[in-house]
Subunit: 202 residues, 4 copies
């Protein structure tokens, strides 16, 4: 029976108090100084924790931040899902407008961009970033689109996965590249164009 203990620390002995303090300090600091100037030393100092306690449990500052952000966002969003008023265009616009607003809020934007950037640079982190933060978001879109299919508003043969990419890809691109403003106007136009692609074939 393997149970490779080796040098992995004992999770049952982990200090919850320290864990919380570290995540909290990370979120505070990334807002104050930005991701590039965020240092493990500063996190440890702010959290009142030894550096080793961070290195023991996380492989990088990005991983810390991912945990911190996940903890905050957990189910806060996503859980509700996308409203279904029967009017899919209105519903998608509502949600995408809200998302645009969220991405315009610095408190949300700073750590989220930090994670997106770190993920783009680090494949291992990316896997976690996508799975823990992006996938859940896609799922609620897929659910709403599926309802749209049943309501006859969406092509029943549509590749829903690809559909969400068409809807959200342009959005993320604008945001990451800062190649344009994330206005309600933009959200509306994007939804309209996407829905033309999603519509049942004549």
């Amino acid at each position: 029976m393997p149970s490779t203990t080796a040098k992995t620390p004992d999770v049952s002995r982990r200090s919850e108090r320290s864990r919380k303090a570290i995540l909290r300090a990370s979120m505070e600091l990334v807002g104050e100084v930005g991701y590039t100037k965020l240092t493990i030393e500063a996190i440890a100092a702010r959290a009142g924790v030894g550096k080793q306690t961070i290195y023991r449990w996380w492989p990088s500052k990005a991983a810390v931040l991912l945990d911190a952000f996940t903890e905050v966002v957990r189910s806060e969003d996503y859980q509700a899902g996308i409203p279904d008023t029967g009017d899919i265009e209105a519903d998608l616009k509502t949600v995408l407008r809200a998302t645009a607003d969220e991405f315009s809020d610095a408190a949300f934007e700073a750590p989220y961009r930090a994670l997106a950037v770190a993920s783009a640079a680090d494949a291992e982190l990316a896997e976690q970033f996508v799975r823990r933060l992006q996938e859940p978001g896609l799922e609620v879109y897929i659910a709403r689109l599926r309802a749209g299919q049943q309501a006859g508003q969406i092509d029943p043969d549509l590749d829903l996965r690809l559909a969400t990419e068409v809807l959200l890809g342009p959005f993320q691109q604008r945001w990451l590249n800062r190649s344009g403003p994330l206005t309600h106007e933009f959200a509306d136009r994007l939804v309209e164009m996407a829905l033309r692609a999603f519509a049942p074939r004549a």
Copy 2:
């Protein structure tokens, strides 16, 4: 009046040999060690150049890399534009498939991702990145779509700018997030879905 200009170096006395060596060393090193482990000191050492020579002419290592990459890519792509066989779907698929292949080539991918990442993190760099590397790419798409409009294959009222975002956003998203493979299959499906959105209204 002396017009001191103080600290701006004299471009006419700039050493072309050093400039080339620096750009070359940057491209080599970013391929060997990756962007995060790329250091100014290593570039200077590899290029046989004093550090100050780099600091004199570039504000950051990302800026060096942007110059290096621009030099390589210069007009190599883009200049030709997108072929126009009359079949816009086939033409777009051809180009997007080629792009997918390009982004799968490590020699291209490493520095380009480095720049994309650095741009996502740094607004000032982003402006240059978008203007010098992304915009020219968009333009050729816009040109082809405009031709499609004239040929009656594309909705004449279509917002062509937004259209390119719908076409390329999902592509960039997959690539940056590594959320899926950049296959020809993907390129084809993406073009097909986009064209449904771009088609003239019934």
Copy 3:
């Protein structure tokens, strides 16, 4: 009356097995890595003992080593005393030559030097070091010199304490400073010179 004694651990419950393992590990390690690189953690690990068990019973790693060394040396030397053949010069040379050999043996030298060094740096340890390891050595010299006085070979008014310092001080100095080799030649010359000082006044 409870006689709490609060924080002094209960000696009667002390694990003899752990004590032995710790002393043994200390001696081994000081030989392998030297005193400066000797760590409490390594001793604990080698001894298969918790760190706290060391901290509970010893105030410092030097104290551990002092115990370890004392245990080994205990009475092994000293007990026999210095031989008395009637020829004090020969007797002293014999002993000092033997001492020179002992100090040239790495197995003895490493821990003893470690203790001497630690003692020179730490007054509290020094007191113990001198009392438990050096004084017993001096006593046997004093005893032999006293016999020499009675035999009329040594000045009856000689300060025997100071005499041992004159005999052993130069020896220790050479050894500690490595300012010269501890040869039999050196031992002989030192004894001869000292005895000129110890001789009865004309």
Copy 4:
């Protein structure tokens, strides 16, 4: 022609200001906190210097301290030599009493003990310590003893090197081990006993 440059820093570019500040800070700090608690970081901070500047020029904190101490002591002592009033006993007592006083002065004692301890632990340092600080001291004794030989007060066949060890060894031993007080009384008795050993044979 070898001249192994390799990675040795360029001495001609060395900052004299930094060198002085480092040596000064070392001496201050060793007095304030003692040798064991003396850290390179603290020296760098006090000197207003980067740590690398210390690591670049010295192999260890002991080496820094040796330089610092040497700079202070340089020729201050030793240069004058031992007075020669014709009465060698009085002269030696004068000097040894003065030395006893010096070793009782904390400002001198702290760094000197630090060096002695570090030297006892580190052979490489010891070589320098002996050569730069101890040998010059011995030389002045040898010179005075030689004068004594010419004056007929000292055995012309005496091994002067060994003689200085007999005189100073007991002194250093007492001091390092703290095995007794360094009083004028002690100095006098030691000189008297040594001179009995040094006297011309009857």
